[in-house]
């Protein structure tokens, strides 16, 4: 086992609950490296909702809130306002963040509170058996859409930017270095930071949407479909259709942060 994992993970909850080849583990791996790099273990407050993705903070040997389905950002807001010196990091899934907790996500971004929200996006409700999530591709066959999903997927990064989030990035589990850099920047950034971390789900999305349960094939699919922002500038809109744009999409340092503003009012 890697020394970083040895240092920061709870031995009693290992091996992790993730299926073989799940991309969520890679995101946890990147996050632990950032924690080690910045040395912020004692000031961390991790929050997770319900779902595979929201199990991620439970393995870390620090203060963790494992809350109701979709309410992770609401709980994190309270935690941050109670103790603004904490680095509050929210691990949430696509269904947890955009479906059940969609309202909290919109208002968290609008308030620009200093949270780091890492949305692990596998495009399906994995833990509950493979139902349609807000990010499931159109025409995808799942347990609740046996004739194909009639709805278009949601662009979470565009929603975050339009609601007022001040740091927005999108990476995938196939880009561990980019993900690591984005998590580091997001934790350092003062304001609502949102990272969409696309990851593969071999058990549910893989078998029923993409027709393969092999992690390697799904990993390759994500890798081949991703285009960095620098490359995308030189490509035509037709060539970019169906591709995943990865990189830092938006950053704004000028907007006032909520907890600073509230504590400023209190000391006046």
């Amino acid at each position: 086992m890697h020394p970083i994992a040895e240092k920061y993970l709870r031995k009693t909850s290992l091996p992790s609950i993730y299926c073989p080849g799940c991309g969520h583990g890679t995101v946890l791996n990147a996050f632990l490296r950032v924690v080690d790099d910045l040395d912020i273990m004692d000031d961390l407050g991790l929050v997770g909702g319900i779902g595979c993705s929201s199990w991620t903070p439970v393995f870390v040997n620090t203060d963790v809130l494992h809350t109701l389905h979709g309410r992770a950002i609401a709980m994190a807001t309270g935690l941050k306002l109670a103790n603004p010196r904490r680095h509050v990091v929210v691990f949430t899934g696509d269904g947890d963040c955009l479906g059940i907790g969609g309202n909290h996500f919109l208002h968290g971004a609008r308030r620009n509170i200093d949270l780091t929200v890492i949305m692990l996006d596998n495009g399906i409700y994995g833990m509950t058996g493979g139902q349609v999530a807000p990010t499931t591709p159109t025409d995808a066959k799942t347990q609740t859409s046996p004739y194909g999903n009639p709805e278009p997927p949601m662009d979470s990064c565009a929603v975050a930017i339009s609601c007022g989030a001040t740091y927005v990035a999108r990476w995938t589990s196939a880009h561990p270095l980019g993900l690591q850099k984005a998590i580091k920047e997001a934790i350092r950034h003062k304001g609502f930071s949102f990272i969409q971390a696309i990851s593969q789900c071999p058990t549910q999305a893989g078998r029923y949407i993409y027709g393969t349960g092999k992690p390697v094939d799904l990993f390759r699919l994500i890798k081949e479909n991703s285009v960095t922002l620098a490359k995308a500038e030189k490509m035509s809109p037709e060539a970019l259709e169906g591709k995943i744009l990865v990189g830092k999409l938006y950053q704004d340092e000028t907007k006032p942060e909520l907890s600073e503003k509230i504590y400023g009012m209190m000391t006046q």
């Binding site: 086992m1 799940c22 583990g25 270095l177």
Partner: protein, 81 residues
């Protein structure tokens, strides 16, 4: 010359069999094809990958960064960071 320098920096690659789940993302991610699926099963019954071509390793650390269970450790020489 560059390759010689790189070879020196990697001491060893450890794969913790107790935590490996046999997803083989390390094999997919490695640009130098260092890993191969071995015939050895771990306690959970997965065929664990093995380091077949250690001398080809460039020290890019992608396997270590990608491993979802943090089972891989690429040990570098002490004087190198």
């Amino acid at each position: 010359m560059n390759q010689k320098r790189k070879k020196k920096t990697i001491k060893q690659i450890c794969i913790d069999e107790n935590y490996c789940k046999g997803c083989y993302l390390c094999i997919e991610q490695c640009p130098a094809a260092v890993y191969e699926i071995s015939s050895k099963r771990n306690a959970k019954g997965y065929l664990v990958p093995e380091v077949a071509r250690f001398e080809d390793c460039t020290g890019c650390m992608l396997c270590e960064l990608t491993c979802p269970d943090m089972a891989i450790t690429v040990e570098k020489e002490e004087n190198e960071k």
